[in-house]
């Protein structure tokens, strides 16, 4: 993985006087920020000797450096995920013990991520999931920008404020225009969907899909437990799509395990941004978490599509994606 890494414990330990001396030198250099030349003068050594002593101190484990993020961010897995899937950014949120709050934690991080990366006058697209809903709730500031809803709503999940409310809330916060979509996500047939897309309000939202600068979407799994879309389908549809190899979903766009989009009649039956449109968005932020191993596989599948530029997920998903069984390491 890394060509040069730090050795753990290389050679024989010295006597106590030497250890204390090395510690003093290491303190000077690493904690007090003195130069090796200064240290050499103070201790009456050559600067080369000081350099060697510092190497020794590190190889003996006297100097301990670790990179650890505040909050619950896993720096190492974030980096590994980013590299593994060729992402622009990956943010792994450590949920520690409280798996109940995973969604909330992801939402909170995603909210601050948006505050961070969205520039003024962007056109921001928001899909919907419970995680994104939490994100909307936790958003506290956003530069002035237009907020567009990316898909219709799922009637099953409109209790606690659905997609429309989130879009409105964020737009208000951003002090910009809101383009909500008052329509269901999935319709029984293509004709109904086409009719709805012609509705002025909905068309206004769709009109922005080709000019989006940042899209925030959720990744859904493909089973009863991990997918809101799956749950919204009839048993026959479920079987049919599953037979086509579907194992993950993002904004009602279906993907097989290799990240290939699975086209079907569903494409025409949903009110949603399309995968092709997403591909043209400069920044696609996917939020995915709070699921089991199957959900993690769905995330991997969608990531392989190359549509996602930034991923926000939890450590459980990251662990599975990285084939990393250990609960903690370094």
């Amino acid at each position: 993985m890394s060509e040069r890494r730090q050795e753990v414990q290389e050679t024989a330990p010295n006597g106590p006087a030497e250890l204390v001396r090395l510690a003093a030198i290491a303190r000077r250099f690493y904690l007090e920020g003195r130069s090796k030349v200064e240290i050499a003068e103070e201790f009456g050594l050559s600067r080369f000797k000081v350099a060697r002593d510092l190497d020794a101190a590190r190889s003996y484990g006297i100097v301990h450096i670790d990179i650890r993020l505040p909050e619950r961010l896993d720096a190492e897995r974030s980096e590994l995920l980013r590299e593994r899937f060729g992402l622009r950014r990956a943010i792994v949120v450590d949920t520690l013990d409280d798996h109940l709050d995973t969604r909330r934690a992801l939402g909170s991080v995603a909210a601050r991520l948006l505050s961070e990366i969205v520039r003024p006058d962007e056109i921001l697209g928001l899909a919907w999931s419970r995680g994104l809903q939490a994100m909307g709730a936790d958003m506290v500031e956003l530069p002035r920008c237009t907020v567009v809803q990316l898909n219709g709503v799922l009637s099953e999940h409109t209790e606690a404020g659905g997609s429309v409310e989130t879009v409105r809330r964020v737009a208000t916060l951003a002090g910009g225009q809101a383009y909500p979509i008052y329509a269901p996500l999935i319709l029984p047939d293509a004709a109904t969907a086409a009719t709805l897309r012609a509705d002025p309000g909905i068309a206004a939202a769709f009109a922005h899909f080709d000019r989006l600068t940042t899209a925030v979407v959720a990744i859904g799994g493909w089973d009863e437990r991990n997918s809101t879309v799956f749950q919204a389908l009839t048993p026959e549809d479920r079987e049919r799509y599953t037979a086509m190899g579907v194992c993950g979903e993002m904004s009602a766009q279906l993907f097989d395990i290799d990240g290939n989009q699975v086209h079907s009649d569903l494409d025409e039956r949903v009110i949603s941004v399309s995968a092709d449109q997403l591909r043209r968005v400069p920044e696609v932020v996917a939020v995915a978490g709070a699921g089991d191993e199957s959900k993690a596989r769905a995330v991997g599948a969608v990531l392989r599509s190359g549509l996602v530029s930034t991923l926000v997920t939890d450590d459980a998903v990251a662990r599975v994606l990285l084939d990393d069984g250990s609960p903690d390491q370094d």
Copy 2:
């Protein structure tokens, strides 16, 4: 104390993407050992930006560096003691909870210290205390050198192998000549002491006192609990010397709180190396621990005499000497 120290948490925390980015850069630099130029190329930044990011990562506390010694050595207090008392070396042993083993721990460290600093063909002088006895027991290797006993024995403490046995053991280990002293440390009058000093065996030991290259001595307090010498005196003697300001003792040489030697009739009544002779020894290692606050004051007193070049002590003593009440800090 230190002009440049690391700030703890300087400016405002950034968003999660920035934090993860900083962590990735910090990992590259601090853990993978890449140069800032390399990192800059990889991330498409200028090397100056990388340097600033690394500074930011440190000030945000993302990079955590600590200097920590293996075993039970307190690097920070060792250093502080060394500076405070102008010593060549100071070694503070962390006794943690088990105060019972303090003496043994000090002895063990002192033993390894001697193995480390004694060069072949040195003339090594050993005083006596329970700590030095533990040192003798823990000594495992020593270059070939002559071992000289520095003072007579205290009859009260000859149970578990007195000074003589320690000297013999160390000399055997070093494969060198042993010069033990078969005499009491304190005698009733100067005449008896003088007679004893004329004894051929004792004189042979004394003859080496001016050619010692390393002396290992113990520091004793000045009350019933902390001093073997004090205990060996008559109540009248105790009072008399106490009235003279004595508050610490090293090899039966008495010192007041400022490190001035307190001369008295005791000087002539002891069979021991003198303070003046010790002053001419290039390396004087003092071992002192396992006492209360009064013992710590004694150690400070003796250190102020300037006779000691290397101190081995425990964290309790170090804490008192440094006016450092906190049980742990950084």
